[in-house]
Amino acid sequence: MAPTSQSGCALLEMRGIAKAFRGVQALDDAQLTVRRGSIHALMGENGAGKSTLIKALAGIYALDAGSIRVEGIIVRPQSPRDAEAQGISTVFQEINLIPTLSVADNILLGRQPLRWGFIRQSECHRRAEAALKRIGLSIDVRKALNQYSLAVQQLVAIARALDVDARLLVLDEPTSSLDEREVASLFEVLRELKRRGLGILLVTHFLDQVYAISDTITVLRNGRWVGEFETASFPRAHLVGAMLGREIHDTPSAAPKTAVETAGEAKPPLLELRGLGKAGMLRAMDLRLRAGEVHGLAGLLGSGRTETAHLIFGVAHPDSGALLWRGVERSPFGSPREAMRHGLAFCSEDRKAEGILPRLSVRENLVLAMQANRGGLRLISRKEQAALADHYIQALKIKTPSAETPIQNLSGGNQQKVLLARWLSLSPQVILLDEPTRGIDVGAKAEVEKLIRSLRDQGMAVLLISSDLEEIVRTCERLSVMRDRRKIAELSGAEVQVSSILRAMSRHDE
């Protein structure tokens, strides 16, 4: 931990920041400092509190506690417009502009120059052009924004942010939809802004980019401040360790490895990816899922783990590579339905939005997938449903008063088990689990892990996506490490250790 010292007060100082949402502490005594003429990266895993922090800064959320100072003066932004008035301009992820309006409109909306209450259009165009010129862009500002590439749109968003004499520019994942060349030109602009004394706060999950451009890094974890570091003297491995809450030199966790690992080698894979990928989503990757094996997918948030599952399951459609099913090459699954027909199951990460129907009973939630698979005409009898529900409630030890209880009354862990049961009822051969233990308590976690191991023992091929490296190490025989939307390593047998994963994740290559 090397807090950088500098004379005078910093451009932005956030101290003791706390914010809770319905009892969940999103930020707890967090802090952040950004200096003039520097680029500061804000890093953290999912749930670290990055987006809460910048939304508080932009005046979208009111803080429960803590102070925000801009050049030493306390501010309390009430709205994005208010924050702008204090010199804080934020460009949110997904480019929050109006694609159907002209570039000039987008830059000046809400602050067009007026004469007698009417907009002066020629003046508007001139000001928009001047704002773009400042960041080295010269385009026709009268054209609709959506006629330009995403990279240009990103620059237009920055031009809008700068048009209000911003002192601090906050960029939330500005590069997530840009290609390498576009990223390079964006960084050129950021460096120029930095030379002019602007403070830039950059939220991103691309490690390479953080090291390419930032001067200092603040790491948050679970809503708490982990530390502030000088980028140049802070090794990648330490950064990854700080984000995940692990020291890099940890003693390898002694996970006893069974004999499965060698036995698996001989078996032909059930499902194999050869160079499967999609432009802008996932670099071409190889992956082999074998029956009776749990394959882990480790990586930071946004590293391409969920994308891999989506490409396999037909949620997204790969544009390169091949898929082998039981050793036979075939076209990738075109839809989740097709994947399900072949015996695949996908338990998605966001169980609130994509998984459960909160008001329906445990039984109803459970039979959904089975009914969908049978088609609407061949109904499952009520008796059959009840038997099925009872079977899984016992087999998975789901804690519920009865099969008829609305699923929203169950704890997170038990909801997760019902979702698992839903897929298991289809007797899949390959099951893709995306963060199956997120947000559930330790005891339930252990049970879900046990369940995953028993699925493996029954001969299923399991793909386990998890941010919890310990969990991956405990459960998997083999694992792939992802970073920046590509697979960077495959570990198996004795290599399956937290320390080797961290090393792979932070390895500086090329």
Partner: protein, 319 residues
């Protein structure tokens, strides 16, 4: 390369000119200044209502109360005049009442996050009911000032006059074009319709913009009621049934996207003129049932929706 934003407007203008040309070739006398001017006069109350609707749709909303508010406005004015009020005062009262009613609906939509479709449907029932409460019968307007206003006209040529109704339509059109393109409020309307979440994050006054849009649509409906009484010389609680649907059709045919954010009052003018041209052509022809108007409008509406879909899909594919 994606099609420019003006393409739908160009397409609508092209359809109008073609229709007018075909009708002129088929029916002698169609190609005259007075027939053209009458397109504005005869459809002024549809036009004024459709201009209000344009703003609502641009902001991503919908207003189904238009026809009922127009009917209320006509019968309210006629009853007030019959009871001795000055016509100008009656008009002002009707437009004011309609504006507040629109603002109230807008407030409900904004404050309680209820679908505009439902709120304005409820508003339509309420306004239509209130129209019948004011007077159950059609009321004729007899007032010297009224007669003067209804007879007023600007002579354009020896054989053509621009009536007061058409003048009101054109003035409203001009005002709407200035509001839409040359005021911050107007640009905010486009922004709210183009992406409400983004508009919020850009710090735009989303709530007041949405409420104002419905208030303005209410004002336009009230004014359309004024135009309607000038045109017919009476107020009628049963008038303008389904006018909102003709207005929506004119707006969409005029190139405004029903999802909001794209379109213009000028396009709506074209939509109304197309409506008027088909109607006039049917009158000139005399053999066809007037319901062919609806059939033609239905066909055009579907055509334009598909056309816009193709345009937006074209731009989506490019990404």
């Amino acid at each position: 390369m994606k099609a420019p934003r003006s393409l739908p407007l160009l397409a609508t203008s092209f359809v109008f000119v073609t229709l007018y040309g075909v009708a002129s070739a088929l029916y002698p006398g169609f190609l005259s200044l007075q027939v053209f001017v009458n397109l504005f006069g005869d459809n002024a109350f549809l036009g004024v209502a459709a201009l209000g609707m344009t703003l609502v749709i641009l902001a991503g909303g919908i207003d189904l109360s238009v026809g009922a508010v127009v009917a209320f406005s006509t019968v309210f004015i006629a009853t007030l005049v019959a009871r001795g009020a000055h016509p100008l005062g009656a008009m002002a009262a009707a437009v004011t009442a309609a504006t507040f009613f629109g603002a109230f609906m807008g407030w409900l939509i904004q404050a309680f996050e209820v679908p505009a479709f439902l709120v304005t449907l409820g508003g339509a029932f309420f306004a239509r009911g209130m129209a019948f409460v004011v007077n159950r019968e059609s009321v004729a307007i007899a007032h010297p000032f009224w007669q003067k206003a209804a007879d007023f006209g600007i002579p354009l040529s020896p054989s053509a006059t621009l009536p007061a109704t058409a003048l009101t339509f054109l003035i409203t059109l001009g005002a709407m074009m200035i509001i839409a393109h040359r005021t911050r409020f107007g640009r905010n309307v486009y922004a709210v319709g183009g992406g409400i979440a983004s508009a919020r994050l850009m710090g735009l006054p989303v709530a007041s913009t949405r409420i104002a849009v419905y208030a303005l649509s209410g004002a336009c409906s009230g004014l359309a009621g004024v135009v309607s009484t000038l045109y017919t010389g009476s107020g009628d609680p049963a008038r303008a049934a389904g006018l909102e649907l003709d207005a929506i059709a004119s707006v969409v045919i005029g190139g405004t996207l029903l999802t909001g954010g794209v379109g213009s009052p000028a396009g709506t003018l074209m939509g109304v003129l197309i409506f008027g041209t088909i109607q006039s052509a049917l009158v000139f022809d005399g053999r066809l049932n007037s319901w062919w108007l609806r059939i033609a409008m239905g066909g055009l509406l579907l055509l334009f929706v598909l056309f816009q879909r193709a345009l937006s899909r074209g731009s989506a594919l490019e990404k």
